[in-house]
C-alpha cells in the first residue's frame, strides 16, 4: 500500500445505503479522498468496476441470506483490510428486530409466495462470518469518522475512534446535560461516542445509534429511566433500536421483556 494508491471497494449487504452514501457525502473532502485512494469498486459512485484484490473493503449491511453468508467470505478472500461500516454491518441493524421473533411468521404475512424467500433465521453482523479488521459504528456512520479511518490508514496510524460514552463528548462540548438538567430520557451514558453528541446538542435524548460504549451499564441505565417515570415498554424499545442485537443492549431489552 506504500507506493501505489490503495484500491478501495465498497460492498453492500442488507442495508439502506445510508452509510456508503456517507462517503459521497464527504463533499469538501471527496476530491481529496478520490486523489488519495483508487475507488476501484463502488457501484453507487461509478459504473466502472476494477477487479480485485482490494486493499480496503468497506462493507455495509448485515448478513440475512445464505447467499450473502457465502458472498462475504469471498470478499474477505480478495480484501487486505475489511472495515465494516454502520449499525447493520456491526450489529445486525434495525432488521435484527426480527431476531427476537420467528422470521417464518413474517415471511408468511408479507409475501404472496413465501416459498421463494430464502432468509436466515437471524440478521447477523459481518463479524459473525469473517474476521473484521475495524468496525465503524453508527446509524448512519459519521462521515468524519470514516475520513479519520481512511486518513489514518494512509498515514499508517491507529484511527482516533473513541469507545467512550456520548456523555464525554457532551461534556467536551460544554453541553447542558439533557438528562440531569432536563429530565429527558437519554441513552448517552451507555452509548458510544462518534456522532458528536448530535441529539443532546439539540436538547434531545440520545437514541443509541452508535451502540454500547465499552463499559455500558444497561442495568443502571434502566433504573435511571424508570426513576424518570419512563414505562418499561418504552425502555425496552429504546434498547431494541438500531443496535438492539448487540450486547449489552440485547440483554437489557430481554431482561425487560421477561419482567
Amino acid at each position: 500500500m506504500a507506493n501505489a494508491k490503495p484500491k478501495l471497494a465498497v460492498w453492500k449487504f442488507a442495508s439502506c445505503d445510508g452509510c456508503q452514501l456517507s462517503l459521497l457525502d464527504c463533499e469538501d473532502e471527496l476530491l481529496a479522498v478520490a486523489d488519495a485512494v483508487h475507488i476501484a469498486n463502488f457501484p453507487e459512485a461509478s459504473r466502472e468496476v476494477v477487479p480485485g484484490p482490494y486493499d480496503i473493503s468497506l462493507v455495509e449491511g448485515s448478513v440475512t441470506t445464505p447467499h450473502d453468508a457465502e458472498r462475504i467470505k469471498e470478499i474477505r478472500e480478495i480484501s487486505n483490510l475489511v472495515i465494516t461500516i454502520g449499525a447493520c454491518a456491526t450489529s445486525g441493524g434495525i432488521q435484527a428486530l426480527r431476531n427476537f421473533s420467528d422470521v417464518k411468521e413474517f415471511t408468511n404475512i408479507v409475501y404472496a409466495h413465501p416459498e421463494y424467500i430464502d432468509a436466515l433465521d437471524k440478521s447477523h453482523p459481518i463479524s459473525d462470518y469473517i474476521k473484521v479488521d475495524f468496525e465503524l459504528r453508527g446509524c448512519p456512520i459519521d462521515k468524519f469518522q470514516l475520513l479519520e479511518v481512511i486518513i489514518s490508514l494512509l498515514a499508517g496510524k491507529r484511527p482516533n475512534i473513541p469507545t467512550h460514552s456520548v456523555c464525554m463528548d457532551c461534556k467536551l462540548k460544554m453541553n447542558t446535560c439533557v438528562l440531569v438538567a432536563g429530565n429527558e430520557p437519554c441513552l448517552g451514558p451507555v452509548t458510544q461516542a462518534g456522532c458528536g453528541a448530535i441529539c443532546p446538542s439539540y436538547n434531545r435524548g440520545c437514541y443509541g445509534c452508535f451502540g454500547p460504549q465499552d463499559s455500558a451499564n444497561t442495568f443502571s441505565m434502566t433504573e435511571v429511566w424508570q426513576n424518570l417515570g419512563v414505562q418499561d415498554e418504552t425502555i425496552l424499545k429504546a434498547f431494541r433500536g438500531f443496535n438492539g442485537f448487540l450486547e449489552p443492549f440485547k440483554e437489557a431489552s430481554e431482561r425487560l421483556e421477561q419482567k
Binding site: N160, H164, V190
Partner: protein
C-alpha cells in the same frame, strides 16, 4: 487588606476597570438552563435573582424576586475549562518543500474570573500543583494561570450537594484570589464588601474611588459566612480515611457502587480537580497534523489500555481508582485532598451516586458492613 464598600450600582465600574486592563471578563450567566461561566460584558449579563437547586442526579434553576447578582451556588463546569481547556492544540506540523515545519501556539488568553467560590479557589490551587508544581511544568496552563485575575465572591446560598467545609475548602475563600467580594443586601441597602489580596487586585481597586467599609458591615459578612457554613448538609469524615481506603480494596461497597455506576465519565468531566488527558494526532489528507490534548477519564477503558490489555477493565476497579485517588493517593501525590466538596460529581451523575455516602459506607469495617438501601432512587 482593608475592606472597602462598593455600592451595587458601582459593580460595573469594577468590571470596566478590569476590562480596561485588557482582561477577557468571564463570569456567571444564565445559558441553556444552567448558570454557565462564560464571557460577559457587564453586570447585565449576571444571573440576577436566579438560584440553582442541585440534588443527586438533578439540576434546576429558579427565578426569584431577589436583586442579588450572585444568588446561585456554582456552575456545572468549573473554571478548569478556561485554565485547562477540554481540547487544546499542542502544535501543528505542516508539510512543505523543505520537509516539515512545526508551529506551537504560545498565545494564551488573559482571563478575569468573576465569581470564584471557596471550593473553586481551592480547586485552582490543587491544579496549580498538578500543572506547575513538579519538575515538568505545563506551559499553557502556567501562562493562563499567571496572567489570570481571580475575583472571588463568597457564597450566600448552598446546594444540597455542597460539602466544602468538611474537606476544608470553603465556604470562605482561601488564599490565592486577587480580589474578594461579599454581596450583602440589608433592607434597601445592596452593596459589596471588597478587599484585594494581591498587588494585581489592588491595582484594579485603586482605579475605583471606594470608601472604607464600617465595622458593622464586616460583622454582617462574617455572620453571612457562618450561616452558609451551618446550611451545609453533607459532609465527609476525612480523618483516618486515607488508610481505610487503602486497606480495603475488596470492601463489598465497591461492588455495590459498581452496580449503579454508568462509567459515563460525567463525574470526572465536571470535577474541578480531575486532570486526566489523552493526546491525539489529527491528520488531514494532505499529510498535515495537529497534535491535540483533550480531557480523558479514568472511567474510559481506552484511558487505561496498555499493550496487551486494560489495567482497570471493570467499573468497580475504575470507581475505586477514582474515589481512592481523590481521598487517599492524591495525598501521597500532591499532599492534599483531591476533592473540594463542590458536589458537582453528585449533581451530574445520572444515577445520583453520592460520593459522601460512598465514603461513609467505605469507612465502615468491611467485616461488619451490611448492605443498606441507598438513600437515592
Amino acid at each position: 487588606m482593608e475592606i472597602k464598600h462598593l455600592p451595587h450600582d458601582k459593580l460595573n465600574d469594577l468590571f470596566d476597570a478590569i476590562i480596561m486592563s485588557d482582561y477577557t471578563l468571564v463570569g456567571p450567566k444564565e445559558k441553556d438552563g444552567v448558570i454557565s461561566y462564560d464571557p460577559i460584558e457587564s453586570v447585565d449579563d449576571l444571573p440576577q435573582g436566579i438560584i440553582d437547586h442541585q440534588n443527586p442526579g438533578n439540576y434546576a434553576l429558579q427565578k426569584t424576586e431577589s436583586s442579588r447578582f450572585f444568588a446561585y451556588t456554582i456552575s456545572p463546569f468549573s473554571w478548569k475549562k478556561f485554565l485547562y481547556p477540554p481540547t487544546h492544540s499542542l502544535f501543528k506540523a505542516t508539510k512543505n518543500e523543505n520537509g516539515i515545519s512545526f508551529k506551537v501556539n504560545k498565545d494564551e488568553p488573559k482571563y478575569a474570573f468573576i465569581g470564584v467560590r471557596g471550593c473553586e479557589m481551592t480547586a485552582i490551587a490543587i491544579q496549580d500543583k498538578v500543572f506547575m508544581g513538579g519538575d515538568y511544568i505545563d506551559p499553557s496552563y502556567k501562562k493562563r494561570r499567571e496572567q489570570a485575575l481571580i475575583v472571588g465572591v463568597e457564597c450566600y446560598n448552598t446546594c444540597e450537594t455542597c460539602f466544602c467545609d468538611s474537606v476544608g475548602s470553603g465556604p470562605e475563600i482561601p488564599e490565592g484570589s486577587d480580589i474578594v467580594l461579599t454581596e450583602i443586601i440589608e433592607k434597601e441597602n445592596h452593596y459589596f464588601l471588597v478587599r484585594s489580596e494581591t498587588e494585581k487586585g489592588q491595582n484594579i481597586l485603586n482605579q475605583l474611588n471606594l470608601e472604607k467599609a464600617d465595622e458593622t458591615q464586616s460583622m454582617i459578612k462574617d455572620a453571612q459566612l457562618e450561616r452558609v457554613r451551618s446550611q451545609l448538609k453533607r459532609k465527609v469524615k476525612v480523618s483516618g480515611l486515607q488508610s481505610k481506603l487503602k486497606e480495603n480494596p475488596n470492601h463489598p461497597r465497591w461492588d455495590e457502587v459498581a452496580e449503579r455506576c454508568l462509567a459515563c465519565t460525567n463525574c470526572t468531566m465536571v470535577c474541578p480537580t480531575c486532570f486526566c488527558m489523552t493526546v491525539e494526532d489529527i491528520n488531514d489528507l494532505d499529510g498535515n497534523t495537529e497534535r491535540q490534548r483533550r480531557w480523558d477519564s479514568c472511567f474510559s477503558s481506552e484511558f487505561t489500555y496498555i499493550h496487551g490489555g486494560n489495567t482497570r477493565s471493570s467499573t468497580k476497579a475504575k470507581y475505586r481508582q477514582w474515589l481512592t485517588h481523590k481521598f487517599a493517593t492524591w495525598q501521597d501525590q500532591f499532599d492534599s485532598l483531591g476533592c473540594v466538596g463542590c458536589g458537582r460529581c453528585i449533581t451530574w451523575c445520572p444515577p445520583g451516586i453520592d460520593i459522601t455516602e460512598e465514603v461513609a459506607a467505605l469507612s465502615e469495617s468491611p467485616d461488619t458492613y451490611h448492605k443498606k438501601e441507598s438513600s437515592h432512587g
